[in-house]
């Protein structure tokens, strides 16, 4: 088992390096140099040359890459052009907000999807199943940003239960927990609804197959309650796709979080990236891209490890 984990970790390293190369290349295909953007209206060719020398931009690209990589490994992601603060600082400020909504949404969505999918599979082809399938389809096909807008309309404008955006009520002098929590509800709901729809489909298919197996019949014959048969015996075998999806869902939800954060003006990593792209703030763009790449590779690693733990045959593949 340990060998499997170590092997996976070692395989992940070239991928992470590749992500850094990719991000670096992406930034440098942008026409126009950052020097021009930095200097703005104070641009003169002499100043441009000075700045470019001091930033190390006149060295060959490969050298620049290794300098940047070395900085990365020391935790120096550079300085943001727009905020003039270390990129790491900006990311560390934005990250907890994103983590909260993503993690809560993922956990809730998984629990709910497992439950919903199992119940759907058990009551297969009944009216309940058909109705839930249609509703699932509806949410599964809905664009995340439209769902977010609809949530705002229904729950923040028509029924003023929740605030329409931001993370804090600026009219309050001291931030309260309840106020903060209220601001989180709608973004989490948006991410939750879209995720549940997709995962419930997987769970339903998986549980359907599991319920046809012989061990389910055996458990019933032994007198186990239906609840136990489904949620103890069948569940263990059918939850595998969702376990892998758990690891793979982290990067996908970060992407979804981008839209949600933009619509709700929620100060997370997605909004940070979006603002940076608009402002051509390359250090931030680079930093967030590398970070997201790392999270994705980590997510895949977690998915593989969890899969290997549950189904040991995978380790020898």
């Amino acid at each position: 088992m340990i060998k499997y984990i170590i092997r996976r970790l070692l395989e992940a390293i070239p991928t992470i390096l590749g992500v850094t190369i990719l991000s670096f290349v992406l930034i440098h295909i942008v026409p126009g140099s950052p020097v021009r953007i930095l200097l703005g209206s104070h641009y003169t060719p002499y100043r441009a040359q000075l700045l470019s020398q001091s930033l190390g931009l006149n060295k060959p690209l490969a050298v620049q890459y290794f300098v940047w990589l070395g900085n990365l490994l020391h935790g120096n992601f550079g300085f943001s052009y727009t905020y003039n603060q270390p990129v790491v600082y900006l990311m560390l400020q934005a990250l907890p907000h994103t983590i909260i909504i993503v993690v809560v949404a993922v956990l809730l969505a998984h629990l709910f999807a497992v439950f919903l999918g199992s119940v759907q599979a058990y009551f297969e082809d009944t009216k309940f199943d058909r109705i839930v399938t249609v509703v699932n389809y509806f949410f599964y096909s809905m664009p995340t940003f439209w769902l977010a807008v609809l949530l705002i309309i229904f729950f923040a404008i028509d029924l003023p239960w929740f605030p329409a955006g931001g993370i804090v009520n600026t009219q309050l002098t001291t931030p309260t927990f309840v106020d903060w929590a209220r601001h989180l509800v709608l973004p989490i709901a948006a991410l939750f609804l879209v995720s549940v729809a997709g995962w419930a489909r997987y769970m339903r298919a998986s549980m359907r197959e599991a319920l046809l197996q012989d061990y389910v019949r055996t458990a019933r014959m032994k007198g186990a309650s239906e609840f136990r048969v489904i949620f103890v015996h069948a569940l263990r075998n059918s939850i595998l796709p969702l376990v892998t999806l758990f690891g793979l869902s982290l990067p996908a939800l970060l992407a979804g979080a981008l839209f949600v954060e933009e619509v709700f003006n929620y100060p997370g990593m997605g909004l940070l990236y979006w603002d940076a792209v608009n402002a051509r703030d390359f250090p931030v763009i680079l930093g967030v891209t590398v970070f997201i790449g790392l999270v994705t590779v980590l997510g895949n690693l977690i998915a593989d490890i969890l899969y290997g733990m549950i189904d040991p045959r995978i380790q020898y593949a």
Binding site: I16, Y137, F145
Partner: protein, 295 residues
């Protein structure tokens, strides 16, 4: 001594017409699939034939009638500069559907080729090719799409290329997996032994086995591409104005959420939803039809 009856059926497909009866019955008889086809047909007609019946300009502004609700003159109202929302929906649909379809086709072609080559290539080349795919997959496509669309001012062609540039990865993995599981078959070995060229083997022996799966993946690619394009347009990075598109209409409408201008928010979202649902239904129908056949 191998009996003749024990030899596997030859995998060469001389014509790609499906002689087995299962697929058509499964596909056309499924109610949900037909619903999807009808919905998609409606959208296509709405976008491409609609303007012939409703020849109002989608880009003409009318500053005397901004933010107007639905009326006889503007069946779905107007937006902040007086565009006719209904006309915009139609023309926007054209670009959404075109770009979505084209991006999926490009992604499929390139992904299939890449996957085939990677599948038949020696292990070293294959591992490098797949490592590249892994790296590209490590960054969620929306981040790359965002970035590319800011860098390159989008036209229809560039949008197609940008969208295809992230979707081909999944197809290539799929095709590679299928190729690797088939290339060990006896008839492939026989073909190689008789000196059949690599390209002929790939296209005539290997590809027909999984072309159904690839087409199903392609269908879902269309849905993803339409969604991605709507998302990019929503963020303001789609086709440049004044070309209307559904995502852009939605983001404009968002500015008027508080004023209850429902005609700016629901119609574009509904169009995207209908497009997504119909293509997903068709894709699911295709997938069940193909799976059943192989059983």
């Amino acid at each position: 001594m191998i009996q003749e009856s024990q030899l596997p059926r030859a995998g060469v497909v001389d014509n790609l017409v499906d002689a087995r009866p299962g697929f058509n019955r499964r596909f056309w008889r499924s109610g949900m699939t037909m619903l999807g086809l009808v919905m998609l047909l409606f959208l296509v007609l709405f976008s491409f034939v609609g303007p012939l019946f409703y020849p109002r300009s989608a880009i003409a502004t009318n500053l005397l009638a901004t933010d107007a609700g639905p009326s006889a003159q503007f069946p779905l109202g107007t937006d902040s500069v007086g565009h006719n929302v209904l006309a915009q929906l139609m023309v926007g649909g054209q670009s959404s559907l075109e770009v979505g379809f084209a991006a999926a086709v490009v992604a499929m072609l390139f992904g299939t080729l890449y996957g085939l080559i990677s599948g038949v290539a020696p292990a070293f080349v294959d591992s490098i090719m797949m490592r590249i795919v892994d790296i590209l997959l490590s960054i969620p496509s929306i981040f790359i799409l965002l970035f590319l669309n800011v860098v390159f001012t989008p036209s229809v062609g560039i949008m197609v290329l940008v969208l295809a540039s992230t979707s081909w990865l999944g197809v290539s993995r799929l095709v590679r997996g299928e190729t690797m599981s088939i290339k060990g078959q006896v008839y492939v070995e026989a073909a190689r032994a008789t000196g059949t060229g690599v390209w002929r083997i790939m296209l005539r022996y290997l590809l027909p086995n999984f072309i159904g799966t690839v087409l199903v993946a392609g269908t879902f690619q269309v849905a993803d591409a339409i969604l991605a394009m709507a998302g990019l347009s929503f963020l303001g990075l789609g086709l440049p104005p004044p070309t209307p598109n559904w995502g852009g209409m939605l983001s404009d409408g968002m500015n008027y959420m508080f004023q209850n201008s429902w005609w700016l928010i629901y119609p574009p979202g509904l169009c995207i939803l209908i497009a997504e649902v119909s293509i997903n239904l068709i894709g699911d129908g295709l997938r069940s039809a193909i799976e059943t056949r192989e059983r």
